[in-house]
């Protein structure tokens, strides 16, 4: 079965790591969004085509926080990115 992954919409955003954290430029609205260090890591993983599940697993491994909490945080962040149009779902 094909897996669903999020993909960054390069028509919509450009990004760069500044002072260790990712800043996103919304090309359509000319607004900047600074991500904190965890969100920056998640952005990096999305960029590499990781599924939501593998992103969560990666973070669980690296932070001493419960799976459930991390999953909620990741899903909510993905939802926010998605609502802003920064990422799109596609089949892997």
């Amino acid at each position: 079965m094909a897996e669903l992954v999020y993909e960054i919409d390069k028509e919509k955003v450009a990004w760069r790591k500044i002072e260790g954290e990712v800043t996103i430029l919304d090309k359509k609205t000319a607004e900047f969004f600074n991500l904190n260090s965890t969100a920056s890591q998640i952005w990096h993983l999305i960029q590499h085509g990781e599924t939501v599940e593998s992103i969560v697993k990666y973070l669980v491994k690296h932070f001493d926080i419960e799976y459930k909490i991390i999953r909620e945080d990741v899903v909510s962040l993905m939802k926010e990115f998605s609502q802003k149009g920064f990422i799109k779902l596609h089949e892997k």
């Binding site: 450009a14 760069r16 500044i18 002072e19 430029l25 000319a30 607004e31 900047f32 600074n34």
Partner: protein, 370 residues
Amino acid sequence: MKSKRELSLKNGFSLQWHITERCNWNCSHCYRDRGYNELSIDQLYRIFLQFIQFLDTFKIPPQIARLNLTGGEVFLRDDFIVFLKRIYKYNDRYRLKILTNGSLLNDEKVEMLKTLGVDAVQLSVEGMESVNDRIRGKGTFEQIVNTIEILNKNDIPVLVSVTLAKYNLKEIPQLIDFFIKLEVRRIGIRRLVPIGKNQKRLIDDMISPLEQRDFYRLRHALAKENYACGSNTKQPTFNSLCCEDGVFFQEEELVSQYDNRTIPLCGVLSNRILTVLPNGDVLPCRRLPIVLGNVLKKSLLEIWFTSELLSRIRNPENLSSVCRNCEYFELCRGGARCVSYGYFGKLDAPDPQCWKLFEQLPPDAFKVCS
């Protein structure tokens, strides 16, 4: 949100935009070195809107937002005035300056410029009449003087730019005196940057570091007496320095008489300038010919934001350890990036006219400087 240092444009923003490469003069020092297809007026307008978007994004107040339109010779474009009319509705958002050789200006055109919100016109000279005409062409000095008179009559401030070189070094006081009498608003004495198709000849025309130092001393003395030598006040202020004058900070005693401003002079290092060439290529500065992107493919904002190269050039930590360990580094920041790059072909090299390091220009201009 835009709180990161790199994303701050608190020093304002200035776009130098070359809208044509064509010129009716053939100055032997010109930086123009490529033929470009010119963009249409609609393309120009779209690029102009990118500039406005840039100002909007960073909420840059009009007093420190600048658009400098230049060429080649801008008035060779038949649609230049039409273009000025088209952008006029945004005129309260920035200061507009036109850099021209002035040869195609007449009373009628200058009156028109006045109604189109042009804040200043900049003309270049190379020296007094014989020196100037040798480089820019016979009769050009007289034309420049005529243009200044027309602009003065119409109350458009005139800025005169002179590039300091071996052949005009001695006549600088005479030149300042001459243009003060002509009531120009400002005389900017700029460093010679060895780039473009005439690079080798330009290197031969560069003055030595010690001559550069003596010139700064002279200019300082003249600036105290003459308002036009750098700024329109009677005292030397920070604004009376040109962007390439970082090495001047070695003259501590003189510098202490200037306004206590600490932003680096170089517009690239202080993150306040970009240049667009006639084909849409974007450079950090016209005198630092490194292409960062093209505005036909990406917006000015996106190029400015995403260019790793630009970010690397701006970061003082990437400059040579010779400079980083120097007591003047905080203010000098390695001197003029453009002169160093033109001379050494390296972005991190110190200024070849730094008299702390060199008495004479380092012998091999293209030798890598460690």
